[in-house]
Amino acid sequence: MAKLVLSKDGVAVHQCWLDKDRLTVGRGTGNDVVIDDPAASREHAAITCVGNDHIVEDLQSSNGTFVNGTRIIRHILQHGDVVEFGALHLRYVNPRASADVDLERTMLIPGLQRGGDDLSPAPDSQDADDGVPSARAARVHFPRGRVKVLAGARAGSTIELDRVVAAFGKGGHRLAVVTRRPHGYFITHVEGRRYPRVNHQSIGAEPHPLRNGDVIDIADESLEFLLD
């Protein structure tokens, strides 16, 4: 279970388990965590539990709530986060809420609002929905590469290969893609009767790794691949 460790000048003075849906932090004695510091407001911050998350929220305190040195209004706590109230520090300890992408298995829990609804198309569900964005980018490093157009309509220009794929072709046909992967760039044939050529050799149907200085021919364009 998650806990909070209160420390003053680096010395732990109190700890408390996060076993309630909501607890408050402040100077007033009615709080779950009492901060004995004149810089703290009577009701300074609240910590709410939602699913696997603990969310700390500033309760419009006079001096603000800081997490790891940054002022926050609301923040989803990560294992090891330090919430600062003047000289007192509150450290959030929950190895399960580490900054790594979580490996929890899928589980079913009750929703926050909707019950058993919409068996038929609901009017509001017809609209597009931006949805929940993808998770934080994993700590994956991608190489940085680009192609210089040596010959063809775009001769002289440079195309950065800074996305997952870049398509090359002619007249609306994607003839080949260059794919960016953690261990390098690859060129793959997409459609058309002729395969792209790398250093004057046809690459065939399989993805072909690219090396710095490779010259690629796709349709009537000639490209030089450059890797940082």
Partner: protein, 270 residues
């Protein structure tokens, strides 16, 4: 109806970390059916729940499609979808109650049924359905997930969702209770549309802009597009099983009775 009106390409992968693949996919392009499930449950029960759901729904819809194609009742597809999901729900729920090893198992679901220039879409849980139309990717489903609820209620900002540990918490699943309520919608399906069904192992790791770019770049080679989506999820960490089904509408596919009627009309005018 033309037999090759829908082109399907699919890929499913255990990912880089997990031991088992609890995702399951099934499809029948000729009958216009694609189904995807992401199972959950202890031991290997998630695999069982996912596979039961896709197999039961596919076979139920194969039978139903043959039936409603001959009657041309516009309400039939919707009813067929609901019926097939209910049948799968009962089967998973019963198995979970009967076998100690399967206790508590369930599964998410995403399915599409193409008929008469239209598509009926259904989902439960956090498996998603997107559509690429005119080069633009649009999410057509709303996740049954705690994170989605939190964002909708303004408890957290969408931009902060990446910091949350609630990604794995779904609020609805098939097979958990005696009945399941499903999100079902009916929409048009235009030539050139690409529908993407995926498990959260894709959209948790690949953002929508990259999914859109991959589909736009590779839509002329659907198997390559499916492979690249899965590869991208794995390159970004591959923390979960990842599955995709792509269904591209190759041409208009009016119901047979309409086509026959049109042919008669044209013959008459000639």
């Amino acid at each position: 109806m033309a037999h090759d009106f829908i082109e399907v390409a699919a890929s499913t992968d255990v990912g880089n970390v997990r031991q088992f693949n609890e995702d399951s996919i099934a499809f029948d392009p000729e009958r216009g059916v694609v189904v995807l499930a992401d199972g959950m449950g202890g031991h290997r029960a998630g695999e069982v729940a996912g596979r039961m759901a896709t197999e039961i729904i596919l076979s139920a819809l194969q039978t139903e499609v043959a039936e409603f194609r001959s009657t041309a009742n516009p309400h039939s597809p919707l009813r067929a979808v609901t019926k097939s999901i209910n049948r799968a729900n009962t089967a998973v729920f019963t198995a979970a109650r009967t076998h100690p090893n399967y206790q508590g198992m369930g599964t998410t679901l995403a399915l599409a049924l193409f008929y008469d220039n239209r598509v009926t879409l259904a989902h439960v849980g956090d498996s998603r359905i997107y559509r690429l139309r005119d080069s633009r990717l649009q999410l057509l489903t709303r996740d049954d997930s705690l994170l989605r609820d939190q964002i909708e209620l303004g408890l957290i900002a969408a931009a902060d969702a990446a910091e949350s540990h609630n990604r794995s918490l779904v609020t609805r699943a098939l097979g958990i209770e005696a009945s399941v309520s499903t999100h079902v919608r009916d929409d048009d399906a235009l030539p050139g549309d690409v529908f993407l069904l995926c498990s959260d192992g894709l959209n948790d790791l690949v953002d929508d802009a990259d999914i859109e770019l991959i589909l736009n770049s590779l839509r002329s080679n659907l198997p390559l597009a499916a492979g690249h989506l899965v590869q991208s999820a794995k390159d970004n960490g591959g923390y979960d099983n990842v599955s995709v089904i792509l269904a591209k509408v190759r041409k208009a596919f009016p119901a047979a009775s309409h086509a026959a009627w049109l042919k008669r009309l044209l013959g008459w005018l000639r």
